[in-house]
Amino acid sequence: MELLHNLQVGFGVALTYTNLFYCLIGVSLGTLIGVLPGIGPVATIAMLLPATFALPPVSALILLAGIYYGAQYGGSTTAILVNLPGESSSVVTCLDGYQMARQGRAGPALAIAALGSFFAGCVGTLIIAGFAKPLSDLALALGPIEKFSLMALGLVAAVALAHGSLVKAIGMVLIGLLLGTVGADTQTGQMRFTFGIPELTDGIGFVVVAMGIFGFGEIIANLEHGDQREVFTSNVRGLFPRGEDLKAAWKAVVRGTAVGALLGILPGGGAVLGSFAAYTLEKKISKHPERFGKGAIEGVAAPESANNAGAQTSFIPLLSLGIPSNAVMALMVGAMIIHGITPGPQVMTERPDLVWGMIASMWIGNLLLVVLNLPLIRIWVLLLKLPYRLLFPTILVLCCVGIYTLNNSATEVALAALFGLLGYVFIKLGCEPAPLLLAMVLGPMMEDELRRGMTIHRGDATVFLRSPFSLSMLLLAAALLIAIVVPAVRRKREEAFQEA
């Protein structure tokens, strides 16, 4: 009954004209950047943060959340029509989606992607509504030691799920932790790594880092590759899937949703991993695995459902524990802080309108996305014809203005250029930057909990193993690391990423 009451509160908030409007803006922008390759949700959310200053917090969060899950819908359009992932979570959709488009079946592929995403989005929203409250009650009972171990597990998971080399990902996490220590020490006020730059007193803004690495760094890398696209626009006829398509696809949608939702909740998870796992699962259990890669509709339905389910459920750790599980959620933490909300389990009880308003808006947003994506597909397709050489100067301007308006600081713009250089170097060296951003946001919280916990327990580190909750988190983290190092699992993991 409490759940019903909460949902009622939520819909009351989400259904006001203002919030409906911002939800629509959010999912439209999300679809837009999802369709456009070369710009992802991390850079977009970072760019738009300053523009949300004037909004009430609920509207701001509704808008920003819409960008993230909207991008999952848009990403599939590009994957199917251009064989380029609009988003990293649509990488596997390219395999069968593009083949379907080449066979003249782009319409059904797009339709099943949108309908599958809608189903997954609805289920995901329900899961958030059901789990957020109990988890936040649990989180309120945790002490500093337990919280530290929980966050450590999150970082280990982020490492485990990153592409490429495990050790290199660990290095990125450590660099992120170090970047998080920049600024005045919270306990003593001692300046750390500020090099006399006053703007660094409050730490390096994560928006600066996110835009530098994910915005500028990726633009530079994209410019090196040049612009090659082949768009199958003329083929978007007859949107509606045939009966046999639906019959083949609905089970894949359900399985994809389950896999995606589960992997989305995990710390370090999110939309990307679920889509890979769901595709692999479908191929494994299919009676005709040879059809995959040649235009199997299950190969579109499963990953597209999974990435949307994952995008939804990755909000659970953020809303219930205040702990971000991936780079996008790390930005959401920043958004909450900017709007004067300290993320954590207490938000659930102190600001129920905010949490439940956001949850309700997600369901509405998913409904809007189906409308946006099916009948309006031709408009998005038109945007695909916009060449990158016109697009990237626009992104540059938005990034520069965005960073500047954050604190009216030109120094931060220059700092972002520095991180752009660093981001480019990371891309060149094959170092995945997402774990860095997550570690940078978690770092200060972890250091805080560690110092508080150690003071309480008089510097006795064995307390991490004596607290049952902390012990199980650490064991889980260790198991995850060992599992990846074991050759058999390692090969599987590489295979899964390879298939893209």
Binding site: P50, A51, A54, S165, V167, K168, I170, G171, L174, I175, L177, L178, T181, D185, Q187, T188, Q190, R192, F193, F216, I219, I220, L223, E224, G226, Y388, R389, L390, F392, P393, T394, L396, V397, C400, V401, Y404, T405, N408, A410, V413, A414, A416, A417, G420, L421, Y424, V425, K428, L429, G430, C431, E447, L450, R451, M454, T455, H457, R458, G459, A461
Partner: protein, 150 residues
């Protein structure tokens, strides 16, 4: 004996070692404290030290095992994009939004391989007008718009 040709892993390792040792070197200047009373230097030095070790492992693997070769770096896009952003940082406060946006668009545009003068003029005009309209008049952000004016 084959000649050692450093790849991605080797350089990534070096980068980690550089970051880690810098953190240790600078962090040692802050009070370390004890485990029970950690000072501001404790956490950064600890993390920096582990990063050095990780960097050594990555670099060593880069030497022992074959790692992917580094692709050729293209200096032009890198330099022009960064220059565009830095120009914005330098001009925004003294010369205002119009000049800063023009600088970003013009310098940034040159970073792509194909230049079309007419396209650049149109794009620069459009983006500058849109920025002023959206950010100054629309969102009412406190920008200085033109050079000279207060």
């Amino acid at each position: 004996m084959q000649k050692f040709r450093p790849g991605k892993d080797f350089f990534a390792g070096l980068l980690y070692i550089a970051f880690g040792s810098a953190a240790v070197a600078i962090g040692r200047g802050y009070a370390l404290g004890t485990a029970a009373r950690m000072g501001p230097g404790y956490f950064p030095v600890l993390v920096g030290a582990v990063l050095v070790i990780v960097g050594l492992v990555v670099a060593a693997r880069g030497v022992l095992a074959k790692s992917e070769r580094l692709q050729r770096l293209m200096i032009a896009p890198l330099a022009l994009v960064l220059a565009a952003v830095l120009l914005f940082a330098v001009t925004i406060e003294k010369l205002g939004l119009v000049v800063a946006v023009l600088a970003v668009v013009v310098v940034g545009y040159l970073a792509n391989a194909r230049w079309r003068p007419l396209e650049l003029v149109l794009l620069a005009g459009l983006l500058t007008a849109a920025s002023v309209l959206i950010f100054y008049y629309g969102l009412k952000l406190p920008f200085k718009v033109w050079p000279g004016a207060a």
